[in-house]
């Protein structure tokens, strides 16, 4: 009984600490998770929904997170799995909802690097971005994930391997093929 009364405040304090820690994790990593999901789906509403689901799932399992990997890697793994589940469910329910809110590739290319000054430079930059989007569109799901994690999120190969559950060699192979496709797209449109 006495042990209970001394342990209770400690447990509450630890729970508060964990909650505060989770809030910090959300504040730091939410934009990055959203960005990855947006680039993967090209659908703002869907990316928002999946981001919400990702953090909801993370919150439910936060107590079991032991810090064996970084929070970012852990969250990204959840996001990738949610995205896979979403597409699987969508394929299963294709007769229910065929419409997608994903933006057009050209529309996605409208967001240009701010450093370009002249009109010509902006046009060239837009063309390049559009070509990369077209290449990304033609990639397999796994290749696209690996490509985006490497060249948009700038994760290291080891982090990508940890996130996706693939070996580093497989990650390299997927990246290499993805880059070959991007090169082909860039070369083909010249």
């Amino acid at each position: 009984m006495a042990a209970c009364t001394t342990l209770e405040p400690m447990t509450i304090a630890r729970a508060d600490e964990r909650a505060a820690e989770f809030e910090r994790v959300v504040a730091i990593h939410r934009p990055q998770i959203f960005r990855f999901l947006l680039a993967s789906t090209r659908d703002i509403d869907l990316a928002e929904t999946l981001t919400q689901e990702c953090f909801l799932k993370a919150h439910r399992n936060w107590a079991s997170f032991r810090g064996e990997s970084t929070a970012m890697t852990w969250l990204m793994r959840i996001a990738i799995n949610l995205q896979k589940d979403h597409w699987r469910n969508r394929r299963m329910q294709f007769w229910r909802q065929t419409r997608t809110n994903a933006v057009d590739l050209d529309e996605a290319s409208d967001w240009l690097p701010s450093g370009e000054t002249s009109q010509e430079q902006r046009l060239l930059a837009r063309e390049r971005v559009s070509q990369v989007w077209h290449a990304v569109e033609g990639l397999s799901e796994r290749q696209r994930t690996v490509f985006l994690l490497r060249f948009v999120e700038e994760l290291e190969l080891t982090q990508i391997a940890e996130t996706t559950g693939l070996s580093e060699g497989t990650v390299k192979a997927h990246l290499s093929r993805a880059l070959a496709r991007v090169r082909g797209e860039l070369g083909g449109k010249r």
């Binding site: 959203f34 967001w111 240009l112 690097p113 990369v132 948009v152 990246l175 290499s176 880059l179 991007v182």
Partner: protein, 146 residues
């Protein structure tokens, strides 16, 4: 040839530093573009309320249309049913009238026939006097005069 191409693809360098300037530029532009888009989308104003309102209007319009269609169908059905009932009544009435007229005509014809028969019987009875009884009738007449 395809085997060689596959090898070349597999040997594409994956490190950013090892890429040629054109690829670096394209990938850099792509990254910046995605980040700019994501930043704008992340901080965009949420339109949940207007979406809800629009959906509720759509829902209301849909329900109104459904109710109107249902009402139209039901009233159309009722009208059709009523019309069929009236038509059936009129037909039954007409048939009854026809039957009544036919019965009256038949009764009239029967009565006429009966009258004709009676008239012919009367005529036959009044005309045909048996000749064998004629002298007896004369004697009766004479006796009465004396």
């Amino acid at each position: 040839m395809s085997w060689r191409r596959w090898i070349n693809r597999a040997e594409e360098p994956v490190e950013m530093d090892a890429l040629d300037p054109a690829m670096k530029q394209a990938l850099g532009d792509f990254k910046t573009s995605v980040r700019a888009w994501s930043e704008a989308a992340y901080h965009r104003s949420r339109t949940a309320e207007s979406v809800v309102v629009r959906r509720s209007w759509r829902l209301a319009a849909g329900w109104s249309l459904a109710v109107a269609l249902l009402a139209g169908t039901v009233s159309g059905g009722l009208y059709e049913h009523h019309r069929a009932q009236v038509a059936a009544q009129v037909a039954a009435q007409r048939e009854a009238e026809q039957e009544r007229a036919l019965a009256a005509q038949q009764a009239q014809e029967a009565a006429q026939q009966e009258d004709d028969v009676l008239a012919s019987v009367d005529m036959d009875v009044s005309r045909e006097v048996p000749s064998a009884m004629e002298p007896l009738a004369q004697l009766g007449d004479e006796g009465e005069s004396q």
